[in-house]
């Protein structure tokens, strides 16, 4: 699928980890150490974009497909309905490493991208300097 820009090139088959395997790994990890962000080059916890759907993913994908057919079925050809199954399965694969990514309760969301703190601090310093320059008596 292309979104927005460019063609994607095939890559070698990645490591596959199911949600169940992840749960086992995470349970072991939490028993031994606190989970933190994993910057490792190839972390099994992060999982990968695998070819196999877990039964849970399959069930979820099927439920979503049913919801689409229930709401929009009369608009869709049989071929489109078939294709939607593939799209939903693909979307599940996209979600897998996101669900598996280790997060702490307090980790917030980048719902709007913010500039980094050092840039903000620099801008504030600049702004304060400008104010001092414009109004030198204000400091007195």
């Amino acid at each position: 699928m292309r979104l927005n820009s460019m063609p994607r090139k095939p890559s070698p088959p990645p490591t596959v980890i199911t949600r169940r395997q992840f749960a086992q790994t995470a349970a072991w990890a939490s028993a031994t150490a606190a989970l933190t962000v994993v910057p490792a080059a190839a972390s099994p916890i992060l999982g990968n974009h695998g070819d196999n759907e877990s039964p849970l993913d399959e069930a979820e994908s099927e439920a979503r497909w049913q919801a689409i057919v229930h709401r929009y079925g009369d608009r869709l050809s049989e071929e489109q309905k078939k294709r939607l199954r593939k799209i939903l399965a693909y979307n599940e694969k996209l979600l897998t490493p996101i669900r598996n990514y280790p997060l702490n309760n307090g980790d917030s969301a980048a719902t709007v991208l913010k500039f980094y703190e050092h840039e903000a601090a620099r801008a504030l310093r600049r702004s304060a300097k400008d104010q001092d320059h414009d109004n030198p008596k204000a400091k007195e």
Partner: protein, 473 residues
């Protein structure tokens, strides 16, 4: 008509000649219009050529400059705008059949800024329908047909700023406005052999521009040189209260004084693990390009991007936000009018994502942003290819993509997810004589750094001076 030698000049030189009254804005606009009318249809490069507006703006510029009122380097210089920005009095089709008759009674902020700079709009550039917002699988997903690459019309320009790429490469205008949610400026610029810049997220207002993904959409320049990109960005950047995600004035504004090259040793990190596969010829050109930079004093080291679901997060963010942006199209069923078979149904699937899933993606995104930001502690810019190959044939089989493993560290997804500035400039040619690009990525808000690195490269190479062998020019 003015000679091709004039029409292929960069914006800086055109502006300088206009300022010195050696070049008439009217003659320049007329020449680009004539060339656009002649070659534009062959390349499927335009949706609309705005002849009346262009001549009116060019005459106004000529009058003002004659009267001593010179506005700056874009005054009297023509450009084209991707057909997703609103231009009062002209259709704004978003490249898609359901919006073929759409018109707005106001100008997008970016158009207003360019009007203030005295620029001359000569047309609305063709694009992939909805800028690929609902997905697409071939170059044919466009209201105006597949956009043809000026270097070889059997090849595609890439999308979604397809027309903008073709227009600049074929010198139908000296620069064009593009938009980039995940690679839509960088890819067509690389494939068309021009300079293209995606500014930091929030620098350029998107008010009046079609939205795909609110937290990822950017507008930016596509031009002949990195220096031109800097000039243009300085005119279009700035805070706009009508764009909720616009950065505050102190951060949004961008001042550019000239062909800047980085001072002191430039620290460049060569991204060693972002592509699964790269054209071997391109690999060689990148090596050559980095040798050029090394000779100028740049310090270059390989750097690995830490693992993480960058591409998944980028793709999910676009899918989820686009389901909201195009909700009316999806609910009304008018998505069935789109040209692309995938675009007709993809929105139904994207609607099924849940709010917790969206938030989960955004929570992971923040971690990934921090992870990538750390890379810049050791480097001024990161570099890799603009794309991993040269242009693909227009007749390539449809790319459904769902069976392919993701290229999860692909630089477009990664850097778009993090709102980072990037620029690509040409660095050589493939065996088929199609352009390759080298891109530089910078830390968020370090737009100067990527321009400076690309400027330095272009000051020592002449790839950007090559011209495509156009038939019928």
């Amino acid at each position: 008509m003015l000679s091709e030698d004039i029409l292929y000049l960069p914006v800086r030189q055109l502006g300088e000649r206009i300022r010195q009254r050696q070049l008439s804005p009217v003659a320049l606009a007329e020449s680009y219009l004539q060339r656009s009318q002649q070659l534009g249809p062959q390349l499927n490069a335009y949706v609309t050529i705005t002849t009346g507006l262009a001549l009116e703006q060019a005459r106004a510029a000529e009058r003002e400059i004659s009267n001593g009122h010179y506005r700056g380097p874009l005054h009297g210089v023509p450009y084209a705008a991707k057909d997703l920005v609103a231009v009062k009095g002209y259709p704004t089709t978003w490249g898609a059949r359901p919006y073929a008759q759409q018109a707005f009674d106001y100008n997008a902020t970016v158009i207003e800024r360019l009007n203030q700079a005295g620029a001359v709009l000569i047309g609305k550039a063709a694009m992939i329908e909805l800028a690929g917002g609902l997905g697409y699988e071939s170059a044919k997903a466009a209201l105006t047909g597949p956009c043809k690459n000026p270097w070889n019309p059997k090849y595609w320009t890439c999308g979604s700023s397809a027309g903008s790429g073709a227009i600049v490469a074929a010198a139908l205008a000296p620069w064009a406005l593009g938009s980039d949610t995940r690679g839509s400026i960088i890819c067509p610029s690389a494939w068309c052999g021009i300079a293209g810049m995606r500014p930091s997220f929030g620098r350029v207002s998107r008010h009046g521009a079609m939205a795909i993904a609110y937290t990822m959409d950017k507008l930016g320049p596509m031009a002949r040189t990195a220096d031109d990109c800097g000039l243009i960005l300085s005119a279009i950047a700035g805070h706009d209260p009508r764009d909720h995600d616009s950065l505050p004035s102190s951060l949004a504004s961008f001042t550019y004084h000239g062909a800047e090259t980085a001072t002191g040793p430039l620290r460049i990190g060569r991204l060693a693990n972002v592509w699964n596969r790269m054209d071997p010829g391109l690999e060689q050109r990148l090596d050559d390009a980095l040798k050029v930079l090394e000779k100028t004093g740049a310090k270059i080291r390989d750097v690995q991007v830490p693992d993480g679901p960058y591409e998944e997060a980028a793709e999910l963010t676009i899918l989820m936000e686009a389901a909201s942006s195009f909700q009316d199209l999806i609910h009304s069923g008018r998505c069935a009018e789109l040209d692309d078979p995938l675009g007709r149904i993809n929105g139904y699937a994207s609607e099924q994502f849940t709010a917790p899933e969206y938030l989960q993606v955004q929570r992971v995104r923040l971690q990934l942003q921090r992870q990538i930001d750390k890379l810049f502690e050791d480097f001024d810019v990161l570099t890799t290819a603009g794309q991993s190959t040269a242009a693909s044939p227009i007749e390539a089989p449809p790319d459904d993509g769902s069976e392919e493993p993701l290229e999860r560290r692909a630089p477009d997804g990664l850097s778009s997810l993090c709102g980072l500035p990037a620029i690509t400039v040409p660095c050589g040619f493939s065996k088929e004589k199609l352009p390759f690009g080298i891109q530089f990525l910078g830390r968020a808000l370090h737009d100067h750094a990527v321009i400076a690195a690309a400027n330095r490269f272009q000051a020592h190479t002449d790839w950007h001076l090559q011209r495509p062998p156009l038939q019928g020019a």
